[in-house]
Symmetry: C2
Subunit: 156 residues, 2 copies
């Protein structure tokens, strides 16, 4: 059981923006900070933009900005929007064909477990992830420096 | 976010055995009851056998039997054993390379959510899934009849 890479990256983007000066950055910078694929990140950022978590900045440099205060961005809401679904097993899907569905109690129990999972995530916002922003900023800067160094080594 | 088909099928096998007379059946019967692939089910049953949830029966007819009382088979334990892992995002894995890991609070929050998910599943056993065994038995029998009818139609 795992979340998609898109959900993982969406949370990383929100953290990077939350930590950045004026809460703005660029896809290239965030990709360099984490050392991850710029292409992957573009799709994730477009989705975050469409969902209203992030705004594009036009003009000088361009980039992205958090569209809300971090304490208004609930982690449960972000994951519900980013994951394709939370259909734990077949009977959660629209195409379910399990013959015992109408009498089976498993779906109810798994549904209760999922509800408890989300209760924790709905208690937390992006602000909770930024509690130690200075330390996060140092680690993200170190990421960028590593990428630059690797680039310089390739050129020499 | 979803469980694997193997986890889904493992729970179906345990339900079918729990409902069956003497809590014994065969892979062929269970496959027919649910109308699912016998090959898939064989792998799942071997795994359940290796994990000690199910015992093979030698001799006349052979088959499978529940190795424990239903109230001794905890759903959380079954899923922990059947799922390859519960590594929600990269930082849960042994190959994690996320640069902010040492300062990031996301893993703690997701870990807490996962713990609450399992708390529900650990409160429930197979016995809870068999509370309405007679109704489940009727639905499973109906499944078998559907498969037999399809077979007969093919032969005519």
């Amino acid at each position: 059981m795992h979340l998609t890479l898109h959900s993982d990256y969406a949370l990383r983007v929100l953290i990077a923006l939350g930590v950045a000066d004026d809460r703005r950055s660029t896809i290239g910078s965030i990709a360099a900070q984490y050392g991850i694929s710029r292409n992957h990140l573009m799709k994730v950022c477009h989705r975050l933009q469409r969902l209203g978590y992030v705004e594009g900045i036009r003009g000088k440099g361009g980039g992205l900005r958090l569209a809300h205060e971090p304490d208004a961005i609930r982690l449960g809401t972000v994951l519900r929007a980013m994951e394709p679904n939370f259909e734990l097993i077949e009977c959660f899907t629209a195409t379910n064909r399990c013959v015992i569905t109408q009498a089976c109690r498993l779906r109810g129990i798994l549904g209760e477990a999922l509800a408890e999972f989300f209760k924790v995530l709905d208690r937390h916002t992006l602000a909770d992830l930024l509690g130690n922003a200075p330390e996060l900023a140092v680690l993200l800067d170190a990421g960028t420096i590593r990428v630059r160094r690797r680039g310089a080594e390739r050129e020499t």
